[in-house]
Amino acid sequence: MVLTATPVTRSPNPLKGTAPRRRRSRLRVNAQVTLALLVIAGFVLVGLLAPVLAPYDPDLADGGVKYLGVGAPGHLLGTDELGRDILSRLIWGGRTSLVVALAASLSSTVAGSVLALVAGFSGDRAAGLIMRTVDVMFAFPVIIIALVLAVILGPGTPVVVLSIVFSAVPYVARVVFAEVKLQRGREYVEAARSLGAGFFSILFREVLPNVLAQIVVYGTGLVGGMIVFSSSLSALGIGVQPPTADWGRMISEGAKVIISGNVYPALLPGLVVLVVALAFNWLGDGLRDVFDPRRRRAGR
């Protein structure tokens, strides 16, 4: 799981000796964010326009043309083990994968954050209780959850989302909890209390804005891992159901033929996921800087 860094404030760093270094300008930050956004938007758009863009029906199996390599005539990115056009499947796959990944990331981030916030502000007892619960979730093998969910709900997208959420929530909770504990000590919280703010008002109107940056960074960091994780689930037959094109499933199905020497079917979706994931990571890091108005030099 991807844990992301907390912002590093600028201040004397003797490790640098006297060598001065350029400092990261707002401009570059925004450039980064826009770039990331462009990439993501691009994929979303492609997903939306799939019917128009995809050269083939993504599910159309043509046993005549299995395992065509990249650049094969008629199949720009080749074909998979059923002779389906990989490019088309990639294009269509974005639909499911992005939805799944975003839904999962969003819900687990929200759930985890709420848990952490409440835990952080409801006294040692309650906090202990909540964090023990988190422990339980940690201690419980995700795979079991997934398999069981699959049995209960029948395999498919909901299972994927749910099990991902279940696996991610404790991590989010742990990270945010750490952040919240920092905030808890800050005087503005006490000030809010002295101004008669209630429990939830403090939580969501005072503290939340201060940990939001962290949450966003972490949440965006999850996206890539989510898709990857969904691929692992597909490998166990409890992922997104066939024939729906889905990057995760493409990876796991492609993996079934790597040893046989056909690397593309797994490699290509893998790369796509990578790009999307990186885009989200950048977005997160960028957003943190944008979010946090105080990111100016300290010391002096």
């Binding site: 004397p12 640098k16 005087e187 010391g299 002096r300």
Partner: protein, 591 residues
């Protein structure tokens, strides 16, 4: 200059590069002569710390020396490669930093850290030699049970102790120059004096010079031989201490000096029929309300016996105690309880300014939080306007909150960094129905800002866009907007520069008269407390030692603790021993 130990010439430091670059040290030039104590005084942002860091090549990674030269013993430092700078470090220049709590490595025993440095400067020394050196140095800095301290971890020592260790650490290599960057700011008044004495004696012992960076003229007058006053990266004035203090040539210096509160100042003003105000009243305060403080103030100034007797006290504490429990259940710590406030009884009259003073950890903040209903007392009663808030149910207490409001010590952290100030002021208003709509809330917020002399345009700003003083004003405005009867001021100025402090104090005095407020003022600087308060209570280890009228501060029969506090105040003009000491030092420095 010949004879100069350290000479800095046209030193300029900038943050960033190109057009975005920001000049923070601007062509600073000064000399530090052998054996003298040279002080750079200035307010935050004046660039004094950066100047010091530049000397040791410890600038932040995005700060650049753009021009000028720094030479030690005539040897250029700036052009020196990293290795030679590190050679200067420690051996020729030692540095003591502002925050003793963080300046020692928390993970190693003191002994270990000292010995490491010793080993660095005397590679030849054997284990036990190093041990001895360490021990002797700890004694040099006035630590008697050296053995214990050597085997102690930093967190097991008091701030003062740590600062002593820091000094030992910085000077055991007998550096020619000892730089002390705000060495006493983080310390209690009483300790402050000892540390300054120590710094001087140490530098005298090693025959080195002392470069003192401070914002406090008290410190300057007490310890410095020569002074340079910095403002916005430039040195506006530098000369021998006495000259600068007695006959400041520069207006800014003058204003700074006048801004320093002094014991008895209020009465001297009163005698001269002047309003009880510090420095050039106003400062960054809008003229509109500035003059609000004159004529009326004269009469209003000082304790107001007449109406105090008329009305019953606003707050009455009877045998209030508070105990804290640390650790226990799941926290992984063994359960410990200690007494923060013990059996305190006092009352605060309506319209008076009641001061609480005591060293850090004396329980004054706890007491204020008890009175402010942020903490619940374990025992005793706290009667606010006839109702015992120690027993009041949560809901009722909340309804009562608007009537007693807090102004916290650190305006920076007591304002929510991610919420526009307008929002922060109007939220409580809406919460308590003091404003019907968001619009109404904003209007009220604007008024509040006006009260503290800030334009309503500030409503949309974020805390980090404001200066320290402005933030504290916001803090006050936020509290006032709720129209409280009691304002609990928890060291509202201790984090501020002198001039800003003066402005805030003035503002508080004005507001009290305009709005007939009652203050509970917590402070550790007796001068400030004495200047502002009608009555003063002295706390130590949670016990209220005595309370007395401001006028009776120096009266005979004061509790020793109070005396100690009084003693700790570093006066601007030379009085008795500190003065002679100062002279002696200065004299020695002069050729």
């Amino acid at each position: 200059m010949t004879g100069a130990l350290l000479s800095v010439r046209e030193l300029s430091v900038e943050f960033g590069r190109g057009p975005a670059a920001e000049r923070v040290v601007d062509e600073v030039t000064f000399d530090v002569r052998p054996g003298e104590t040279f002080a750079i005084v200035g307010e935050s942002g004046a660039g004094k710390s950066l100047t010091a860091s530049a000397i040791l090549g410890l600038l932040p990674d995005d700060a650049v020396v753009t021009s000028g030269s720094i030479s030690l013993h005539g040897e250029e430092v700036l052009t020196a490669t990293r290795s030679s700078v590190t050679r200067f470090r420690g051996s020729k220049i030692g540095m003591v930093f502002q925050n003793p709590l963080a300046s020692l490595d928390p993970s190693f025993r003191i002994g270990n850290q000292l010995k490491e440095i010793i080993g660095l400067h005397r590679p030849a020394a054997t284990k036990r030699e190093r041990h001895e050196i360490a021990e002797t140095w700890l004694r040099n800095v006035g630590i008697d049970d050296a053995a214990r301290v050597l085997s102690a971890y930093p967190h097991e020592l008091s701030g003062g102790m740590r600062q002593r260790v820091m000094i030992a650490l910085a000077s055991l290599s007998g550096p020619a120059l000892l730089i002390a960057d705000e060495p006493t700011t983080a310390l209690d008044a009483v300790v402050q004096k000892q540390i300054l004495d120590l710094l001087r004696s140490v530098s005298e012992e090693t025959g080195g010079s002392l470069l003192l960076i401070t914002h406090d003229f008290g410190v300057v007058s007490y310890a410095a031989d020569r002074v340079a006053v910095m403002k916005d990266g430039r040195i506006v004035e530098q000369d021998r201490r006495d000259r600068v203090l007695t006959a400041p040539a520069d207006a800014y210096t003058r204003s700074l000096i006048r801004a320093v509160p002094e014991i008895g100042a209020r009465f001297r003003l009163a005698e001269r029929g002047l309003p009880r105000r510090l420095g050039p009243a106003g400062g960054d305060r809008s003229p509109a309300s500035a003059d609000g403080g004159d004529g009326t103030a004269v009469t209003a100034a000082g304790p107001r016996d007449d109406d105090r007797d008329a009305r019953p006290p606003l707050v009455t504490l009877r045998n209030v105690s508070k105990e804290f429990v640390v650790g226990g259940l799941g926290t992984g710590q063994r359960k410990r309880r200690f007494r923060a406030v013990g059996d305190v009884s006092l009352h605060i009259e309506r319209g008076e300014v009641f001061g609480l003073i005591g060293e850090s950890g004396s329980g004054k903040s706890t007491l204020s939080r008890l009175i402010g209903g942020l903490l619940r007392a374990d025992a005793g009663e706290i009667v606010f306007d006839g109702r015992d808030i120690a027993r009041l149910p949560k809901a009722e207490l909340r309804r009562l909150r608007p009537r007693f409001q807090f102004v916290f010590q650190d305006a920076t952290s007591s304002l929510n960094p991610r919420v526009p100030v307008g929002e922060q002021i109007s939220r409580p208003l809406l919460r308590f129905g003091k404003a019907a709509s968001r619009a109404a809330g904003r209007a009220r917020a604007a008024e509040a800002l006006d009260l503290v002399g800030l334009p309503s345009s500030y409503l949309h700003r974020y805390p980090h866009e404001l200066s320290g003083g402005q933030r504290q004003r916001i803090g006050i405005a936020r509290a006032l907007a709720l129209e409280p009867d009691l304002l609990i001021l928890d060291e509202p100025t201790s984090a501020l520069d002198v001039s800003t402090q003066a402005n805030i104090l003035n503002l508080l005095l004005d507001l009290r008269e305009e709005l007939d407020l009652t203050y509970l003022f917590i402070g550790h600087n007796l001068a400030v407390v004495e200047f502002l308060c009608d009555r003063v209570g002295v706390l130590e280890q949670g016990v209220l030692l005595e309370t007395f009228r401001a006028g009776e501060l120096s009266a005979a029969g004061r509790h020793p603790v109070t005396r100690a506090l009084l003693d700790a105040v570093l006066p601007m003009r030379f009085t008795d021993e500190s003065g002679t000491r100062g002279h002696a030092a200065a004299g020695k420095a002069d050729p």
